[in-house]
């Protein structure tokens, strides 16, 4: 490489000497570094409170130490264990339903030859992604109400005899969250797959046709292998997010009838931390979640390396 000469020259210059010539770059970047240190890293200091009976009036230094007491308390509580279960269950359901629906829709869109039609379908299905969860839950309340559209349809088709109260059924809550998330994100999630599909060499399709492959065989043997690496990368990345089942939808749609199935770790943290002022315990719960999430990310990255895909960190 002919870039080698300036590199040698640069190494001769000292670190601070080079830095002096880069004052404007520092002006552009260092304030944001300080910002991130304050808003993203300094709260980690608060994790100390997870080992204390933290009282804001007494501060970190004045509060009583309880060791692992907060964690013991958490794991002795049924509602915390249930919220771990709910978090994992909902994020799994979201992951499986979200990925499957996006892949299927992307494959189907890829088969559409009429560009205008394809574009309009894409544009319209991206739309719900931009609506806030408050709006989406409000709409879901209309649609799933006992006199709403879904119940009307089920009654007309004779599937049920009387209206189902979807929002008050424990067993349905997870699936409702899954369905609403699919409705909101399916179009958006196809973007990445469709862009992967556009990079598939068209001659592969031609070759497959010449070899006598039908439409479904081309989908199976050309399109799907073409998006395989994207699929694997996204899947692995999502393993790292298994502790994130979302929080808004459960918080907004949960109610006392379904609380055993709707409360996620985040909602638990909010309930104990903000409304009951049990900061130490809530921070312990949040810390547990973050630590498990980091562990999952390393696991995901390890799997990715083993599979010889792109590394994530």
């Amino acid at each position: 490489m002919n870039g080698a000469t300036p590199k040698v020259y640069k190494k001769k210059k000292g670190f601070f000497e080079t830095l002096k010539g880069q004052g404007w770059l520092m002006v552009m970047s260092v304030p944001m570094l300080l910002y991130v240190l304050l808003f993203n890293y300094s709260p980690l200091w608060g994790w100390i409170c997870a080992f204390q009976d933290y009282k804001p009036a007494k501060g970190i230094f004045g509060s009583k130490w309880v060791g692992l007491g907060n964690f013991q308390w958490l794991f002795s509580r049924d509602d915390f264990l249930l919220s771990i279960r709910n978090t994992l269950a909902m994020s799994m359901i979201n992951l499986v339903m979200g990925t499957l629906s996006a892949v299927i829709l992307a494959v189907l869109l890829n088969e559409v030859r009429n560009r205008a039609f394809k574009r309009s379908v894409q544009t319209l299905t991206y739309l719900p992604h931009f609506l806030s969860m408050v709006i989406v839950v409000g709409m879901a309340q209309n649609i799933f109400a006992s006199n709403g559209a879904i119940n009307d349809l089920l009654l007309k088709l004779g599937i049920v005899d009387e209206p189902v109260f979807f929002l008050g059924e424990e067993k349905m809550f997870w699936w409702l969250v899954g369905i609403i998330n699919v409705w909101k994100e399916v179009g958006w999630n196809t973007i990445i797959y469709i862009s992967a599909m556009t990079s598939i060499d068209p001659t592969l399709y031609e070759a497959a046709s010449i070899d006598g492959a039908g439409r479904f065989q081309r989908m199976l043997n050309v399109t799907l292998p073409g998006i395989k690496s994207t699929f694997v990368v996204l899947l692995i990345m999502n393993i790292g997010h298994l502790m994130e089942a979302g929080f808004e939808i459960q918080y907004l749609m949960g109610n006392s009838q379904v609380i055993d199935y709707s409360q996620t770790i985040d909602v638990f943290v909010l309930k104990y931390g903000i409304s009951n002022n049990q900061y130490g315990r809530a921070i312990a719960a949040g810390m547990f979640k973050s630590v498990v999430a980091i562990f999952l990310l390393f696991l995901a990255n390890f799997i990715a390396k083993k599979l010889d895909e792109d590394t994530l960190i």
């Binding site: 993203n40 862009s195 903000i274």
Partner: protein, 304 residues
Amino acid sequence: MSARAVKRKNKIHRDIAFPICNTIFLCLLVFVTLYPVLNTVAISFNDGTDALRGGIGLWPRVFSTKAYVSLLTDPLMYSAFFISVSRTVITTFLNVILTSMLAFALSRKEYVLNKFITFMMVLTMYVNAGLIPGYLLISRTLHLSKTFWVYIIPTMFSCFNLIVLRTYIMGLPEALAESARIDGANDMRIFWQIIFPLCTPVLATVALFVAVGSWNQWFDTQLYCGSKKNLYTLQYLLKMKLATTTQSANSAATSADALKNTTQTTPVTIRCAITVVSAVPILVVYPFLQRYFVTGMVLGGVKG
């Protein structure tokens, strides 16, 4: 001979059948996507007591604009709309400027702090202190609660947007910045006069993401400004009007007067009207920006 003809006929049959089924399915999907939205609009234009009977489809049964009239006479709506618009505009403006400057600095390979700062920025995607420590920092240490700035200051940075912008800037020809440097321009000038104007498409994407995120945010109002009515945002007003049944279990983090508001029974038509009002700005901006964001998503998705 005839067997082959039948086979060919079947093949043609299949070749037509699939696109037709596919088109029908996709149309159905679009219908399912749009139905809840149109249904909400229809209910919002329906008469209040009639709407309680349910069964409204895509068109109001008893047309009425009462819900909108009552919104227009509510002073809280105006202040909420104003707060929502200002927080969105200010956040978007600051975010785009600050993030693009940062992205430019981190795209310069010769910058000696590049590796370190990039690492610290990317690490924010993995390290998360959790809700309560952040809450304590913002409300107790920085005393931002019950001020307008709580909507602006804590939302200044997103690593995803940084990656999108940085990837884009790194894809621009190196010679552009190089020739300006030879002409004696400093880095700030190179950024403002050469790089920034070239980034318009990706800046539009990032602006869209930030603006939507800010506009759709309701939780910070609840957490920090639940007792300050003059700082309510549209989304929070809507959140308070969600059907009361779902709220009973979630009385967390709301102050006394916020709770009073939630427990009032709100006619379903008014709730739908607020939904429409808070969704309209997005629906208006969306078509203009939508050609940009796909590029942005792909850029960010590949790297991030």
